[in-house]
């Protein structure tokens, strides 16, 4: 047990990859493709169970991270294999391990072509995603960040829709370009640290220490150094999120990806971007973050409104859900850049809620697509008559996405708006104006989702082809059940998640808002809706 606890994160990273090797070996010897999905499911469930041990929790060390491991990787470059989790990454790791088995079950009958390669790529992808969330060495982080591209590229390219090649290449090149500039910034940080302190390092914790103790500042060599580094990191993450003008890869990738790919993309891959901004941009470049905040707030509001408006006119259900992601991620960015505890907690909570809800929406779209092989809204109508369970699930999930109270979307969005309202990052009453502008987005969200639901599920059953549709099977209900449970649970009782993420988020908020330890923190007397 001690062994497992000590190396838990490494085990979590390695189990899926070893699983991938195992299923390839299994195929080489037995050539029985029907067992593949069971084996893959077994591996992902095992990893989920193992990841639950994180909740048991070892004591966090002084730097706030637990389950740490730190050993030299390439000393000649100065990079260490340093991993660990805190309240911020813990939940994202759990989200990853939770979504993966669901994604695997969702492919039960959908993958007919090359199942071995499909499941192997899924497993490798899981390793890379967990690696991203637990890396505390910038080079190792970059490594996992890039490594996650390759399996996704193949998943979209081989098992995707008609435009899959275009979508896959666009996805890869967009993301690669952003992250390569981040690589330059990472190496530059190494040398800035070398010049400032005499030792170069890629270690996040060390860099953080040097910055907070004032031994590493970005004012020295050029006035713009800090800003440029911030932008290099922010570009990589903004493309991943995606923040408004960088979002064009997302609808293509989502629409063309197979259902499991869309689920993973929406639920986890997008979170790498927001996670990266919160973890690295805010703490390493707090000053630049504050200077640039207004840009991101403006872009976030544009993203919220634009995403919602474009979603409204989509004829394709999957594209509609994809654009709704743009809007939701806009909310997350807005919350983060409010630099208030509520806003940032709300951002993290929305990340998790969006993972569950949008993942569920993509699954639901996938169910109907498997039956009818079309996603055109105009092809449907009155589905609630033939598929009542499906319609119920869809409506609940859509409500969660809209942000109906007692469902998970509400908590995060409410916290974000509270945070933005009480923020002081924008001059004067602009904070409140920004909040109101974002609030309009929630109304739009209600419009596009409800309108779509009305057109798809209600009214008369006009299309002949829809009359013989069968309702959800037990397997499909089984996939949805845990997601629906989480939507309700996270909506009613957010306390455990918010409590455990609080110390880490507050620490980041303290650093980014420029408050010194023990300094006076002017905190508004609002505890949040859950009455902590």
């Amino acid at each position: 047990m001690d062994f497992i606890n000590q190396y838990l994160l490494t085990i979590l990273i390695l189990v899926p990859t070893i699983g991938a090797v195992a299923i390839i070996a299994h195929q080489a010897f037995w050539k029985d493709e029907s067992q593949l999905k069971w084996l893959t499911l077994g591996v992902t469930v095992l990893n989920f169970v193992l990841s639950l041990l994180l909740l048991g929790g070892a004591q966090a060390s002084a730097n706030g991270f637990s389950f740490e491991q730190n050993s030299p990787w390439i000393p000649a470059i100065g990079s260490n294999y340093h991993i660990g989790v805190d309240g911020l990454s813990l939940w994202l790791v759990l989200l990853t391990t939770f979504i993966m088995p669901i994604a695997v079950i969702s492919t039960w009958h959908a993958v007919e072509k090359r199942p071995l390669a499909f499941y192997a790529f899924m497993l490798v992808l899981e390793s890379a995603m967990i690696g991203v969330f637990v890396s505390l060495d910038l080079l190792v982080f970059y490594l996992f960040f890039e490594a996650s591209l390759v399996p996704m590229f193949f998943l979209i390219g081989i098992w995707g829709g008609k435009q899959r090649i275009y979508a896959a290449v666009k996805f890869f090149i967009y993301t690669a370009l952003g992250s390569l500039l981040m690589l330059v910034a990472i190496i530059a940080l190494y040398y800035l640290h070398l010049q400032a302190t005499g030792t170069g390092t890629f270690d996040y914790v060390t860099l953080l220490g040097s910055i907070s103790s004032g031994s590493l500042t970005f004012g020295g060599s050029s006035a713009y150094t800090g800003t440029l580094l911030f932008l290099a990191f922010a570009l990589a993450f903004s493309i991943k999120v995606p923040v408004f003008p960088f979002h064009t890869w997302l609808p293509d990738a989502h629409t063309e990806a197979p259902t499991a790919g869309s689920v993973i993309l929406a639920a986890i891959l997008l979170k790498m971007g927001t996670y990266g901004i919160m973890r690295f941009n805010f703490t390493l470049f707090p000053e630049a973050s504050r200077e640039m905040a207004w840009i991101f707030i403006v872009l976030a509001i544009i993203g919220i409104t634009y995403g919602a408006l474009v979603a409204m006119v989509q004829p394709d259900v999957k594209r509609l859900v994809a654009y709704s992601s743009v809007a939701h991620m806009g909310f997350v960015v807005l919350g983060m850049f409010s630099f208030t505890e509520q806003g940032m907690q709300g951002a993290l909570y929305t990340m998790l809620a969006h993972g569950v809800t949008t993942g569920a929406l993509f699954l639901l779209v996938g169910f109907i697509y498997e039956r009818r092989h079309t996603r055109e809204i105009s092809e449907y109508g009155g589905l609630s008559n033939v598929m009542p369970i499906y319609a119920t699930f869809f409506v609940i999930t859509a409500m969660a996405s809209v942000g109906l109270p007692f469902l998970n979307g509400f908590v995060g969005e409410f916290l974000i708006m509270l945070g933005m309202w009480s923020s002081t990052i924008l001059p004067g009453s602009w904070n409140q104006i920004a909040t109101m502008a974002a609030g309009t987005g929630v109304i739009f969200a209600a419009v596009y989702l409800l309108w779509m639901i009305q057109r798809v599920f209600f009214g008369k059953l006009t299309n002949e082809k829809n009359k013989s549709l069968s309702d959800l099977s037990l397997r499909e209900i089984g996939i949805m059940a845990p997601l629906l449970f989480l939507m309700v649970f996270m909506g009613v009782y957010p306390k455990p998640i918010l409590d455990s993420s609080k110390p880490s988020v507050v620490e980041i908020q303290r650093i980014v808002s420029g408050e010194t330890k023990g300094g006076t923190v002017t905190e508004l007397n609002i505890d949040g809706p859950e009455g902590r």
């Binding site: 000393p75 490594a147 390219g157 500039l181 330059v184």
Partner: protein, 512 residues
Amino acid sequence: MMNIFLAELADPNVSIPLVLPEMLLALTGILVMIYDSIRPGRRRVTGTISMVGLILSAVALFWIWSTPGQQLSAFGGMIVADSLRMSFTAVFLLVSALTILVSTVWVEREDVHAGEYHTLLLFATVGMMFMASGNDLVIIFLGLETLSIATYVMAGLRRRDLRSNESALKYFILGSYASGFLLYGMALVYGATGTTNVTQIALNTETAQFPALLLVGAAMLVIGFGFKVATVPFHIWTPDVYEGAPSPVTGFMAAGPKAAGFASFLRVFVLGFPLVVGVQASEFLHDSWITALTVMAILTMTVGNIAAIVQNNVKRMLAYSSIAHAGYAMVGFVGAGVAKTATGRDDAIAAVAFYMLTYAVTNLGAFAIVTLVARKNDRRTEFEDYNGIGFRSPVLAFSLSLFMLSLLGLPLTAGFIGKVLVFRPALEAGTSLMVILVVIAVINTAISAYYYLRLIVVMFFRERTEEWSQPKISTALAAVLAITIIGVFYFGIFGNNVIEMFSKYPVDVQMR
């Protein structure tokens, strides 16, 4: 002056161990040649002898490398045993060994007279080794000519193929022309500094007779070396020659001679024309060549990548990609030139050597597969010919994808560590010119994703319309694939040992 010569005549300071790797390989070459004239046409025997020679040479090299307290220079300072020489020599030996293994497929398919081929390859390798070990312009030139003449012939080995003839003739004419520039440059540098020894040139820059002569000489050298490593604008020959030459030879030329060119290019410029603070001529010279090479690096990467995008032939694409890679390596080169400390400079040199190693391993792996797929007369080398082979020949397709991702520089592959290493020294200098250089380099990397991915796209994402006969993977080729795949992962994940080994013996020119 006279006294110095006499002193050297009296004690030539001979050290056999120091040139043992070169000697062993040259002897092997002669042995192969003699054997082939007695019993012609025995490919396996000549191939085996060549491999044994390469292995013996490598053993000798590692013996010098790992013997502590080793003498660092001999033959009156003409031959040195610093990390620059050691690391690059290791790259050459690996390239030659892999090339011999890759060629087994091809020599049998095309019925090439393999004895000549192996001899030429070994002599070319000896030439490359002298280019790295020579600390004297004369030795460097001799090495370069030995290499060049051998490769001219190798490019034209497919005598009955018009493209191969064109390739050899083009390479020969342009190559001789470039050699002329190089020699002229060397003469001018000698005229200005009164010596051909690189270490001595660095010392004599302060007292250079005609600083202008030195500058012109250096410019000529840039042209000569620039041709060898195929930097823009001296790259025009590359695509035609690479396309026309037999695939294994192309792989060899893109990895070996390019690395050799970089070895002497680095030695002459970084060590021969260093920045001596306070000496006007030196400052001016240093400034000029740094700027010139920076501009060349930018052009090389950009032109190489953009031209590679529009290619429809895989060999041509790899040729342009090799141009782009020369550009990335030059980022490390320039970084070595602007390094402020001797350690920084040595690390940067080691970085370029490591980059060439990663490039060689990856590229030869890719060429092994291209050779295998190409069939007789290199007929199947278009992108279309790779359509949909992904799951029909999964081993080949996944290996080729891995090599493409490594060329692209994706983490966990050798190419990533190589790129990080060559970008580092330039960023360490921290001047805005260097930062711009690195930023352009990474933007180029993103552009290159397009054509590297294209090969993966056609293999995996497209359907095959014509027939596909599974090519047979021979033992030698399987060995090449195993070595290169392991190499790509090993250098990408556990590269530390190699990097440390590459910077073990600091070069003997102090910074001033």
